[in-house]
Subunit: 514 residues, 2 copies
């Protein structure tokens, strides 16, 4: 991919960096360096790292820029808040050409933003004036997310060679306004740069909002762990939030589209407050959001799908995600009940059994009968063993059920995003279904109809790639968590068995027969 | 012990039996043969087995026959239904010399029964006419139960060399009245004779009533398992009743006084209906019942206790039995709750977890994604393991908690008898306390006061012997049941652990990382 350098950048010696000049054209050789860097080659063949922010990425495929026509028959106008199930921007219902005057986050309005470059794609045979969107792409970094045929599994995202990950750790209390307000900062360290950055929960939340806005139509962006106002400085809460933020970040890191996005890289490469604020402003102005994201997706070398295939894929995913959602919720419900039992009544009962044994032992001790010390010792030991078991039982869920629940909670969140994603697809399919009628009545041209089909096809490929990403992650996650769960359960039963044997059972064997 | 032969008996050759003639005097050499036989020696020095029913046992110690005087100041008149807490015969409140005309089960009324032999004991210095009781002893078999100093443990019963036991088994449905009424007969086989006899529950119940009547003042006679009218032919119920009858019989067999009693031997040696009915009639006419049982107890070589010692022993036992009763009831309550949880909600939960895993597995199977067969297989295996665990958990109480509960239930029954026994003692103590005043006011003689003290002392020795019997049995029973319980619990955890490991955990290890 060839791109233009926006600002001068001078390489630091010995850092594998490449000096570039504003206006220079370079070729990106590796987009997946992470940490805000890309690898590029200049015209002289020199290769090195360049800050991503210093270059312009422009390779949005034209076909996706011809998003709708000005005749009021917006073939994508179905993507309103009802159809997509969660989008609050009612842009689709808005009459063509009206200007709200606000800096909308929707790219559909960018026609009025004053960017001059109207792109006329090669596939556009329409004479009607195009409302030109996505023109601001010139000014912004836009990556093309490639979907290609990944063997038997079907379409997959282009995965980076190196899997980005990060460690969320070391929560620290910080203060501002001369100590009047305090907050918790978490240290986030990407495995690529190994340079820690600090973020408060509200930064994570800002990132979540940006990712949801940008990718929500194509990629499930799971919610962050719950906000909590009271008790948010309590150790237990901070620890749990950190663990969940870690889970969320790991999931985002694993996603090739999300993890390579500018906003995500910004979050991971905080330099200073000024840089961060500038990055935030830029991200908030990003117009490649909502369904526009499909314009950045290229099904590389894949044939267009026909409507029936698109519809079938969509239905299949719909069925699967619903069924899995039910299954996961079911497991969570029963897991919660089990958790409650294992931390509440069950250990209490073991404790009471333990106390009853010990009580009986001290009653026996008061008998005045000689030679029952071994029995009373054994009974006391049995009682104490039961109190130990009570504690083991009460602590066990934290060791096994916890991770099973956390993983399923994460999946519940992920699966909760699919209805929106699928809703976008269904709406597109419905619109394409109407296309013949629209052509017949002269509302759209045949070429526009073909474009619509192509877009639906691209959306389907994106969905398939996303589902494959979801599936492979699901298999990895469930395999890991189940393994861990069963191992911990095995350890638990072994521990209880040993506790049983070592202390009390042996003590009774010492008693012998009377 | 020398005794008189009541009827001619001709020995069967080769059976170690001894021929005897009516009126002949023989010496009992072993009273503990069981099965309705004793070993005796005749005047010619020949030794052999003689049926117990054919001989008269007369060696009731005289001191205990002087039970009360006719002056209306019955020193034992405190043993009314209130003081003893359970006796329904209000004989003590009845005016002296009145005759109810009924054949009372109380020996106190036997003065009017027309038995001529009034025994004047050597220790009796009173000139007042004695109401002669216990004279029917000449006509009945009366054993003397010896209490002797058993080392550190204190007074103990004289134990037989051979511990009687019996097996209750093989419940069979029988009918009578031409099949109109049906009942269950249990086979009872004493380990002495190995000859099985059949008894219905109502026979057990009759035996219980006789034993309670006869020994209840001195020995706790635990209730039989509950009567039940509906569902009494159901297999589960019959099995449980049989098990509990077995427990009850074993406990009775273990008791040296009860097991050697004529009525108990009658029960174990059923020959034919005629013999049984005759034995029943005889037992029902037994007048050595209630407090009279103390007249058959001889503290061999033990010094008389003073009142303070008697009172102390009584209080000690009272405290112990109450404390143990509380402890046992507490254990039963928590055990019952645990039982319910282990057979109800807990396995249901494991089953639901199992189903949730299996359900998730079948959802995963429907993904259309290749290469997750190992995960879904492992998930299914984990689900099945959890269903197995559910079953193990649900069945476990029958394997361990059951015996712990049954044993504690038995002890609850036993301990429930002590308030009556202790009540009898307390009432006797109170009466002895009044003795000085009675002597001062000329209501009783000094010699009568001494007799009263002796009796209280004997009662205390009987109680001590009984407590020692109770303690040694308790230690044996609790040691055994706790050993069994903990062993079974250990097996359970081992089983669950193995179930966990073998099926599902290994299955997940096969999956590897994706």
């Amino acid at each position: 991919v060839t791109t233009r350098v926006l600002y001068d950048f001078t390489a630091e010696p010995g850092n594998n960096e490449l000096s570039v000049r504003e206006g220079e054209t370079i070729t990106i050789t590796n987009q997946n360096i992470g940490g805000g860097w890309i690898e590029a080659k200049n015209s002289r063949g020199e290769v090195g790292l360049v800050p991503e922010d210093y270059i312009e990425v422009w390779s949005v495929k034209c076909s996706f820029l011809m998003l709708f026509t000005s005749n009021g028959n917006d073939p994508w106008a179905v993507f309103d808040s009802n159809a997509s199930g969660g989008f609050s921007n009612n842009w689709a219902a808005q009459p063509e050409g009206t200007e709200t005057g606000e800096t909308s986050s929707s790219a559909w309005h960018s026609g009025g933003h004053g960017h001059p470059q109207a792109y006329q794609g090669p596939g556009n045979n329409s004479n009607k004036p195009m409302v030109l969107i996505a023109i601001s792409f010139y000014m912004m970094r836009v990556r093309i997310y490639t979907v290609f045929q990944g063997g038997e599994a079907g379409p997959v995202w282009a995965y980076p060679d190196y899997q980005l990950d990060c460690v969320v750790a070391d929560p620290k209390k910080g203060t501002k306004m001369y100590g009047l307000k305090s907050y918790i900062e978490y240290q986030v360290t990407p495995t690529t740069t190994n340079k820690p950055v600090n973020h408060r929960y509200k930064h994570f939340d800002w990132l979540y909002e940006r990712l949801l806005d940008k990718y929500g139509s194509a990629i499930p962006i799971p919610c962050l762990p719950d906000k909590q106002v009271t008790g948010r400085f309590e150790e237990e809460f901070i620890k749990m939030r950190m663990e969940r933020l870690q889970g969320w970040m790991t999931r985002m890191c694993r996603h090739p589209v999300v993890s390579s996005s500018e906003v995500f890289q910004l979050f991971l490469s905080y330099k200073d407050e000024k840089d961060w604020k500038m990055g935030k402003r830029k991200a908030e102005k990003d117009e490649t959001v909502e369904v526009m994201i499909f314009s950045t997706i290229e099904p590389e070398g894949l044939p267009d799908l026909d409507l029936i295939e698109v519809e079938q894929k969509c239905e299949q995913f719909n069925r699967f995600t619903r069924a899995m959602d039910d299954g996961v919720k079911d497991l969570l419900t029963i897991g919660n009940e089990h958790w409650k039992r294992c931390t509440g009544p069950l250990p209490k009962e073991y404790q009471r059994i333990g106390k009853a044994f010990q009580n009986l032992s001290s009653v026996f001790n008061s008998s005045g009968y000689e030679g029952e010390a071994t029995l009373t010792d054994a009974l006391t030991a049995a009682g104490k063993t039961y109190e130990d078991i009570a504690q083991m039982v009460a602590e066990q869920p934290k060791k096994d059920l916890h991770f099973l629940m956390e993983t399923n909670n994460e999946y519940k969140g992920l699966l909760g995003c699919f209805p929106d994603t699928i809703g976008v697809h269904k709406a597109a399919i419905e619109k394409v279904k109407e296309a013949d009628k629209l052509v017949a009545t002269g509302k759209i041209t045949t070429s526009e109809k073909i474009t619509m089909s192509k877009r639906a096809s691209t959306m389907s490929y994106a969905l398939q790639a996303e589902m494959n990403h979801f599936h492979s992650n699901r298999i990895y996650d469930y395999n890991r968590v189940m393994q861990q769960y069963l191992e911990q359960q095995g350890k638990f039963y072994e521990m209880v068995k040993c506790g049983n044997n070592s202390k009390s059972s042996r003590a009774f064997h010492n008693v012998g027969r009377c």
